[in-house]
């Protein structure tokens, strides 16, 4: 719940703030967003399974985003679509994390 609330507030703040990043950075930011989403899902999962660690989360959140954007940039320069690697890895992990979250939530609901 808290994640959706944060997302909503973030979206509203973004609209009010009204900054646009230059178009040429747009694809890198997209990959970075994917990495960030993955970290958020990972955090929710860790929270549900009670092994959340703040330092790991923060380093993962920013590190993954930076690495994904950097790889996408590097791929662009080299002419290889490396961003696909980031998309596949983070996309797969998001689904994985979501599956685990789902399972944990349903088990919690059943055990109640």
């Amino acid at each position: 719940m808290i994640a959706i609330l944060g997302l909503l507030i973030g979206v509203i703040a973004g609209i009010l703030w009204d900054v646009n990043i230059p178009e040429k950075f747009s694809p890198y930011i997209s990959v970075a967003i994917l990495a960030c989403l993955d970290s958020v899902f990972g955090a929710i999962r860790a929270n549900l399974s009670n092994n959340f660690q703040a330092d790991i989360f923060i380093s993962g959140f920013f590190g993954n985003a930076a690495l994904a954007a950097g790889l996408a940039y590097l791929g662009d320069k080299l002419g290889i679509p490396i961003y696909i690697a980031a998309v596949i890895v983070f996309g797969g992990r998001i689904f994985n994390n979501f599956a685990i979250i789902r399972r944990l939530l349903i088990e919690k609901a059943k055990s109640r």
């Binding site: 997302l7 973030g10 979206v11 967003i33 955090a43 929270n47 959340f52």
Partner: protein, 252 residues
């Protein structure tokens, strides 16, 4: 306490993600780049130059109208000069009427008379086909009018019928109908314009063959009298020249 900490972190993280998403989506309509084919590019260039031309023309029109307006305003303060304004307006109106054709005009030009061939009366051995070729047809008159316009004629009349933008030249048996009036041969065509160039154009014999050369050749052998006149008077159009369906375009 630990769950609380997690919530704060997740909240901050999702807040950042939300901002990033909005930054990336951007709800503003972005300018879309469009790739043009060579043809579309040419069209666009043509359109642009056409619009530039239009703008130029409108500017010139504006300048002319503005100077006229200035003149009116200057004269308006002085009551004796208001007569001058009316005079210049009337001059303009008369010029427009002459241009349109509802006013008689005169000037140097040519008068042409065309009649059926005299062979019709002398020779009764002609076949139908030959007889047909010795008669003045409405198509001859139409072609003559076109060539007069091409040669730069400014006003034309046929047997006193002013040729207007709506004038028809129709065949009606032994008659030719112009401006709803039935006319018979001989046809007197008056035209105002540069008489020398009209003569050269109508009698041309090179790549372009003038209509009068065609009419006077031995096959047609029509009676053609061509005269250069110092003063040709072209009467005004008689008839109704109202628009029923056409409407003025505003903001033209």
């Amino acid at each position: 306490m630990k769950g609380y900490e997690t919530k704060i972190f997740v909240f901050i993280a999702s807040f950042i993600v939300g901002i990033l998403i909005v930054m990336n989506i951007s709800f503003k309509p972005t300018e879309q780049t469009k790739f043009l084919t060579a043809e579309e590019y040419m069209d666009a260039i043509n359109e642009r130059s056409k619009l530039a031309n239009d703008i130029n023309l409108l500017r010139q029109q504006y300048a002319a109208n503005y100077s006229k307006y200035q003149q009116y305003m200057e004269n308006a303060s002085n009551p004796s000069d208001s007569l001058k304004i009316i005079e210049s307006m009337e001059k303009e109106l008369a010029r427009n009427r002459a241009l349109v054709g509802i006013e008689a005009v005169e000037g140097q030009g040519v008068s042409i008379t065309i009649d059926d061939s005299i062979e019709l009366h002398l020779n009764n051995q002609l076949s139908d086909f030959e007889t047909n070729s010795k008669i003045v047809h409405n198509t001859d008159i139409i072609e003559l009018l076109y060539q007069l316009n091409l040669a730069g004629a400014e006003a034309i009349s046929v047997n006193g019928m002013r040729i207007m933008s709506n004038s028809e030249v129709a065949c009606a048996g032994p008659f030719i109908v112009i401006n709803d009036v039935k006319l018979t041969a001989p046809f007197h065509i008056d035209a105002i314009g540069n008489s020398q160039s009209i003569k050269e154009y109508l009698y041309a014999q090179d790549s372009h063959i003038g209509i009068l050369s065609t009419l006077t050749n031995p096959f047609r052998n029509l009676y053609v009298d061509f005269q250069i006149q110092e003063r040709v008077k072209i009467p005004a159009y008689i008839g109704n020249y109202d628009f029923k369906y056409a409407k003025e375009v505003k903001n033209n």
